[in-house]
């Protein structure tokens, strides 16, 4: 990927990430987050991590963000009016944020910042290499994670289940517990 494109996309990702926290409307924030995810995915693809890039679009931009959209719709979130709370709280919050930014600056500022460009072999981000790593070196971790997710799915179905004849999901929950 040519450097100017890399810088342009990076800047775009930062600007849209800023949009996520600056926008007052939750839907606009969500759109900015989708834009961030997309630009980062394009950066991945540009750096030859093609599969990771496309998976990011499929999983995050295509599925998880839609879930966020549903949550925003169903909770009926309104436009935020601004920070609320006690003045002392706001003051303390601003102070903590300023400290955090200073800390970040000292960590990231040169000469501590060491940028190293390594040239990965061609095809290191291909599906074959990704699948090879996932299903040989990390097979146990991968399978355990999938069992964990399955347990979560079964658990949520058990909790939300309605018994025949009742409209009360709590009846099923009593049985499940």
């Amino acid at each position: 990927m040519p450097p100017f494109l890399y810088i342009f996309l990076g800047a775009l990702a930062v600007v849209s990430a800023l949009g996520v926290i600056i926008q007052r409307n939750p839907i606009h924030s969500l759109l900015a987050l989708i834009a961030t995810l997309m630009t980062v995915a394009i950066l991945f693809i540009g750096e030859d991590a093609v599969v990771v890039g496309f998976l990011q679009i499929i999983v995050y931009a295509g599925a998880i963000m839609v879930l966020f959209l549903f949550v925003i719709w169903l909770l009926n979130l309104q436009v935020e009016t601004g920070p609320t709370g006690h003045l002392a709280l706001k003051l303390f919050g601003s102070l903590a944020a300023a400290l955090l930014v200073t800390e970040l600056f000292f960590i990231l500022a040169p000469p501590h910042l060491q940028v190293k460009f390594t040239h990965e072999p061609v095809g290191y981000g291909s599906l074959a290499s990704l699948a090879g790593t996932l299903f040989t070196d990390y097979l146990v971790a991968f399978e355990v994670t999938s069992v964990l997710l399955l347990a979560a799915v079964v658990g949520s179905v058990a909790l939300a289940r309605r018994l025949p004849g009742t409209d009360d999901p709590r009846a099923a929950r009593k049985i499940a517990s």
């Binding site: 499929i58 959209l69 549903f70 599906l127």
Partner: protein, 371 residues
């Protein structure tokens, strides 16, 4: 280098223009074809000169659908309702058309041709992760409908938007599973390689099309694809009798036309996907690089250029035939109820898709095609 660049640009433009003109053809077929099936006459009024009418020729309605309708659409007032989110209301139609248009570029529409010593593949972008690219761009199609429904400040539109989102997310899963079993069969994500893998014959006569090895996946992709296009019998997001027009109820003029165009472009895209994954793409039965090898030993030699061009024509014929089939399904079936739609998706197609992937995996391992 330059000739490849120029060819790439031409192919990309060609693919998008082909998608748009196919949509226009589908619009015509929608009007006159549905009239034919439902025993009506259909559009038969507009003429350019009135000459044909005076000479007593029957009006086929071509002017109506290809010129009069689009001109009418784009010259109408572009109305934005009060309280609507102006920016998103304007963005939504293009957000729904854009993913479909960029998906066209990975579809292989032919083999390779030789131009002044350069071998040029007949696909706009030959991606190694083509199937992943497809799934990624199709997944993004949700946002157009969702945001159109939300930004219109209208209850019917929001209901339509929510329905569209839930439906597309549910059926994308079945679509992905159908595509996964084809990927496993051919061992590649590259669409051109998948089409190449469907060349040749079994038992001396049966083309090696994936529809014969993966019939279940074909049905899955057909149903899930029809659901993705949001048309009858899966048109719950816009169901006219309950939601009036669903997520794009508050759109008029050109933006409304863009939504309709998206519908037809999606129909063309689904037909292209089915052709590429299951009907051998540009492959013609018994046609090899050098000519026809008919079952029974007959051989008809053909020049390479003719073979390539015939492949492009074969691809188009298959796509148009599938488009017509999808259209005919539309005018034949009634609409599903919402619970039926969800049950079909989650309890019918997804388990079937998983089962198909499992069986495919066993067969692939048993036949020893794992590297």
């Amino acid at each position: 280098m330059t000739i490849e660049l120029i060819a790439g640009a031409i192919k990309a433009i060609l693919m998008i223009v082909a998608g748009l003109s196919l949509s226009l053809f589908l619009l015509y077929f929608e009007r006159k074809g549905s009239a034919l099936i439902q025993d009506r006459i259909g559009s038969n009024r507009a003429t350019l000169t009135g000459l044909g009418k005076r000479m007593g020729m029957p009006n086929l309605g071509i002017i109506n659908t290809t010129i009069a309708d689009p001109v009418k659409m784009f010259t109408k007032e572009d109305f934005i309702p009060a309280g609507a989110d102006k920016f998103l209301h304007t963005l939504a139609p293009f957000l729904s058309l854009f993913p479909v248009m960029i998906t066209f570029v990975v579809i292989p529409f032919g083999d390779t041709i030789l131009i002044s010593g350069h071998r040029i593949g007949l696909e706009a972008a030959n991606l190694n992760a083509g199937a992943l690219y497809l799934l990624a761009t199709i997944g993004l199609g949700v946002y157009g409908a969702a945001l159109a429904g939300w930004s219109s400040n209208n209850r019917w539109a929001l209901l339509g938007g929510i329905r569209a989102t839930a439906q597309m997310i549910s059926y994308e899963l079945a679509m992905g599973l159908a595509i996964v079993s084809v990927i496993m069969t051919f061992g590649t994500l590259n669409l051109q390689e998948i089409v190449r893998g469907q060349g040749g014959v079994w038992f001396g006569f049966l083309p090696r099309w994936a529809i014969f090895t993966q019939p279940l996946a074909f049905v899955l992709l057909l149903v899930a694809g029809a659901a993705e296009t949001k048309r009858i019998p899966f048109d719950l997001p816009e169901s006219e009798s309950e939601l009036i027009q669903g997520f794009f109820i508050e759109y008029s003029g050109g933006k409304q036309a863009v939504f309709m165009l998206t519908d037809f472009a999606e129909q063309a895209l689904v037909a292209m996907l089915l052709t590429t994954f299951f009907l051998g793409g540009w492959q013609i039965p018994w046609l090899m690089r050098d000519g026809f090898h008919l079952p029974g030993g007959a051989f008809l030699a053909l020049p390479a250029l003719a073979v390539s061009l015939m492949g492009v024509v074969a691809f188009l014929v298959k796509v148009v035939a599938l488009c017509m089939f999808l259209g005919m399904v539309r005018w034949t079936l009634p609409r599903f109820r919402y619970d039926q739609l969800m049950r079909l998706g989650w309890k019918g197609l997804v388990p079937l898709g998983l089962f198909n992937v499992l069986v495919t995996a066993f067969v692939v391992v048993a036949t020893g095609r794992v590297q």
